[in-house]
């Protein structure tokens, strides 16, 4: 006896909601970055759950790809954050307004 597919999807949806709301509420660029990682993880959970319930390996392969993309995103995103901090002495996204007007 296992939890049904629906419960995994529900958990994934709840985590995605928390991540999406967090991206809007956070002002810290690193906090937003971590919320995006949380959303990527909730999608990974959906892939693995479907892979389990339909007995298909493709879902897990796709999770592997998502993880590689997340690692690239971490490297480039944190590089951008450090470059931004050097210029502005802040990681607040509200300070990134030089392109405004």
């Amino acid at each position: 006896m296992e939890p049904s597919l629906a419960s995994y999807l529900a958990l994934s949806g709840i985590l995605f909601t928390i991540g999406a709301v967090g991206v809007i509420f956070k002002r810290n660029a690193i906090g937003m970055f971590m919320c995006i990682e949380l959303m990527l993880n909730s999608v990974n959970l959906t892939f693995v759950a479907f892979s389990r319930y339909y007995a298909d390996t493709t879902g897990q392969l796709f999770v592997f790809m998502v993880m590689a993309v997340a690692a690239c995103e971490a490297a480039v995103g944190l590089g951008i954050i450090i470059a931004f901090f050097r210029n502005r002495q802040s990681v607040d996204v509200d300070d990134a307004s030089i392109l405004k007007n």
Binding site: A6, G31, L38, R52, D56, A68, D92
Partner: protein, 194 residues
């Protein structure tokens, strides 16, 4: 039943850690909560018979990515996030988005619950490392190679972004380049000029 109990324990832990990540204003507390989410999800992957993904989750997410994040937080010596003093309408937007997404989640939950259940056969091989490796290097070889190129691009991007040249250094580099060009032109070698 044991599997059910494990799922609810880890699901509750994951949700609690996720909420704590959004709630805390100190980025370091957020990062530690996020590690909790990753570990809980790795445990859920094991109950889903995906040990390879669980191991990669702990190695890549809880290991590599979070170490990088904590390292950046320490390097920048970040203080606490200031509260939202302007853009009050963000609360409304965020709350609305959260409600919509939660409603969708419950809709999907009931729709999938009502659908005919797909029974899981015992002795599945979908999560075995060997079957994943075989699929990765035969059927999905091209995506794996594209991922390799993407990682190379990320390395180059990281180096370019984190390299810092001050204004005198930048002028020095430009002057050196111009000098080299002039010398080549004087020698009558137009390879660079062309």
């Amino acid at each position: 039943m044991a599997s059910d109990a494990l799922f609810f324990v880890f699901a509750g832990f994951a949700i609690a850690c996720a909420i704590s990540m959004v709630y805390h204003r100190n980025p370091l507390y957020s990062a530690i909560s996020l590690v909790g989410v990753f570990v809980a999800l790795a445990c859920i992957y094991i109950t889903l018979a995906a040990p390879f993904i669980a191991a990669v989750q702990v190695l890549v997410y809880a290991g590599a990515i979070m170490v990088l994040v904590v390292f950046v937080i320490m390097l920048l010596n970040l203080d606490e996030d200031r509260p939202l003093n302007r853009l009050r309408f963000l609360y409304a937007i965020g709350g609305g988005l959260g409600l919509i997404l939660l409603a969708q989640t419950f809709f999907i939950f009931y729709a999938v619950m009502k659908a005919p259940q797909h029974s899981v056969e015992a002795g599945e091989t979908a999560g075995k490392t060997m079957s994943i490796g075989q699929a990765m290097y035969t059927e999905y070889l091209l995506p794996v190679e594209i991922i390799g190129v993407l990682l190379l691009m990320a390395i180059i991007g990281g180096v370019v972004l984190s390299r810092r040249l001050s204004q005198p250094q930048l002028e020095l580099v430009v002057d050196n380049e111009l000098d080299k060009r002039h010398q080549e032109e004087e020698k009558g070698d137009f390879r660079i000029a062309l």
